[in-house]
């Protein structure tokens, strides 16, 4: 029984079957990649997982609880954090403030009216945030505006913000899309480090095979809304069906 169980999920948009009978099980503390050509339904599947879309049929269970019909912030509070294709950070805020907000959310829940405390005096939150920034090698930039950082650093910060909440499951949507090679490698190293240091399940949706094969322990290949195969990276590499879906080769 995996930490994330997707069963018989179907989703239609008008005449388009975006997801057809998707079954997926992500084992706890593993790195699971979902790959597939454009239009395979990767993003739709992700949107179902984080509560943005409700499937027509089927169930999505996280840690034994259904996520369907819950709001994104409720799903986050259950222990699922999401990293976006373009880094979503609080651009007008400083790096340190960016890091403090998820820690506040973890401690205080979806809403708390703390209008008369001084945020500088929240010692334990500031400490945790600084500690997290240090582990990301970003402590020197703590008072910078986060919007002025490079894309690679924004990505680093975003991943750090997700980790600061110690989620059970980290969802990554094409974390290296549009990144320079050096930034991509940095991101891979960061994710590897996270995997080694923490008890965390990572589900990653990715185009870049270099990223997928350096990280994933299991891979699911989606094509036209249906899982084609699920296997270890070694077996996926040579799998005839995958080559066919990706390259249009007739094996």
């Amino acid at each position: 029984m995996g930490i994330l169980e997707v069963k018989n999920v179907n989703k239609r948009f008008g005449g388009l079957q975006a997801l057809g009978d998707v079954n997926l099980s992500v084992a706890e503390n593993s790195v699971h990649a979902i790959i597939g050509p454009n239009g395979a339904g990767k993003s739709t599947l992700l949107n179902v997982l984080i509560g943005k879309l409700i499937p027509d049929t089927g169930s999505v269970m996280f840690n034994g609880q259904s996520v369907l019909g819950r709001k994104p912030f409720e799903i986050n509070q259950m222990g699922i954090s999401r990293v976006f294709q373009t880094p979503e950070i609080f651009g007008d805020l400083t790096v340190l403030e960016n890091m403090m907000i998820p820690i506040f959310a973890k401690r205080d829940g979806v809403f708390r009216m703390h209008a008369f405390e001084n945020s500088e005096n929240e010692k334990e939150i500031v400490e945790q945030a600084e500690h997290m920034l240090e582990s990301l090698n970003m402590a020197d930039a703590r008072h910078d505006h986060s919007a002025s950082m490079s894309r690679g650093n924004k990505r680093r910060l975003e991943i750090g913000m997700c980790l600061a909440q110690s989620p059970r499951l980290l969802l990554l949507d094409e974390p290296t899309a549009g990144m320079a090679r050096a930034d991509t490698n940095n991101t891979i190293d960061l994710l590897k480090q996270i995997k080694d240091e923490r008890d965390i399940t990572i589900a990653i949706i990715e185009h870049d095979m270099h990223v997928v094969f350096s990280l994933a322990e299991r891979i699911t290949v989606l094509a036209q809304g249906t899982p084609l195969v699920e296997d270890t990276p070694e077996n996926i590499k040579g799998h005839p069906k995958v080559r066919e879906a990706y390259l249009g080769e007739h094996a």
Binding site: E88, F90, L93, A105, F111, A115, S119
Partner: protein, 401 residues
């Protein structure tokens, strides 16, 4: 001190100094000089400065922090005024219950409007608040006449019950508003040579409440709650996916700013106990938007500056008529004098809106951060000069080594 850091505390102290010494600061010209008309140190105008300052400070908590642009805040101001006048009619002429009720009623009213309007963001939110405010305005003007007295506006009369006070004074007039016996209208005039400085009880009550409001606003700005509000403005998506529900945060900000507006409305009525529907009109809502943007949205002091700036224009610039212009340009030859007066005429007197509009455009285009940004730029210019001098000195000293 007071839970503020050094910088904020000094800002608060500066504002406190300015507010408490306003009768001197706003009255720099001797009363017999021709510049005396630029004096703004009379009670009525000073009260407006601080009351609209409160209004703008509250508006800035919503607009400056969350970025939700409400176009209906005058509705809360109007509701506050009506509540205060009703308190004067029914209970007593003491301003305390009137102000308390106006804040509470405006708060409740903003819970309702905010709950509905905050389902949408951006332009739709603005339109919804505008629609609500116009609805309130039209209701106050027509159907709700029994409560609001329609176009005439709500006024005190001699046969109001005033159960804790007197319906009429011993001399048979309508009693005046007071703060535990201290008449709001009373003014002490200090004459120093050609200057006449006026110290008005009402003004000082407003100024103290403004300082308290300002202090609370600083606390909110620096609190984790304020940080969450800025996070909403910055990136609502990340906010939601960080496990925070933006709706109660924005609603709380909306209600707080509605209560500030109610306080301002209650004070307006306390200084001059009447309330008319025009206080809720969309132009009044637009005015507070202008004040906040002109001064600098999202800054602490900006809205207060903007409010002062606009109220000064409204009351002082609008008084410059052709007669005044002719005395100014009297030194010129006749033909030239008439020409200059004709050219300047559209910008002053009744045309003060034109000047204000031009100033507003210039500020928005060249100083997107408002007057506060202007001040910061000037400050930076001076600092650069200073550090430039020091740099020169240090380069001069190097060859000697």
């Amino acid at each position: 001190m007071l839970g503020l850091n050094k910088k904020d505390l000094s800002l608060l102290l500066i504002v406190a100094f300015l507010a408490l010494c306003a009768p001197f600061i706003l009255n720099p010209f001797p009363s017999d000089s021709s510049l005396a008309q630029f004096n703004a140190g009379y009670p009525d105008l000073m009260q407006r400065f601080v009351i609209f300052g409160i209004f703008a400070i509250g508006f800035n908590i919503l607009f400056g922090l969350t970025g939700y642009l409400s176009f209906g805040h005058a509705a809360f101001l109007g509701v506050g005024s009506y509540s205060a006048v009703w308190m004067f009619k029914l209970l007593s002429m003491n301003v305390v219950p009137a102000i308390v009720l106006s804040v509470i009623v405006a708060g409740l009213f903003s819970v309702v409007i905010g709950f509905v309007s905050l389902r949408r963001s951006g332009i739709y939110f603005s339109i919804l608040t505008l629609a609500f405010a116009q609805m309130s305005f039209n209701l106050a003007y027509s159907v709700l006449t029994p409560i609001t007295n329609g176009e005439t506006g709500l006024q005190l009369t001699l046969d109001d019950p005033r159960i804790l006070g007197a319906s009429r004074t011993e001399s048979g007039g309508i009693p005046v508003t007071n703060f535990f016996g201290l008449d709001m209208r009373d003014t002490y005039e200090m004459v120093v040579g050609p200057w006449a400085f006026q110290f008005n009880n009402g003004y000082y009550l407003c100024a103290i409440l403004m300082l308290i409001s300002f202090y609370l606003a600083i606390r909110i700005f620096r609190s984790p709650f304020g940080m969450m509000l800025r996070a909403i403005k910055s990136n609502n998506t990340r906010m939601t996916y960080t496990g925070l529900n933006a709706r109660p945060y924005t609603l709380a900000a909306f209600v707080i700013s509605g209560m500030y507006a109610g306080l301002a409305g209650g004070l307006l009525a306390s200084m001059d106990p009447l309330a008319g529907a025009e206080r809720m009109q969309w132009t009044a809502s637009g005015e507070v938007v202008l004040m906040t943007i002109l001064g600098g949205a999202g800054t602490l002091i900006g809205p207060v500056l903007g409010a002062g700036f606009i109220k000064y224009f409204e009351n002082i610039f609008s008084k410059i008529n052709d007669g005044v212009l002719h005395t100014w340009f009297g030194f010129m030859p006749d033909g030239l004098e008439d020409l200059v007066v004709t050219l300047v005429h559209p910008f002053v007197g009744k045309g003060w809106h034109l000047t204000l509009g031009l100033v507003f455009m210039l500020v928005v285009i060249f100083l997107p951060g408002g007057l506060v940004e202007g001040g910061q730029r000037i400050g930076r210019l001076f600092r650069r000069k200073k550090s430039g001098d020091e740099a020169k000195k240090s380069t001069q000293s190097t060859p000697a080594e």
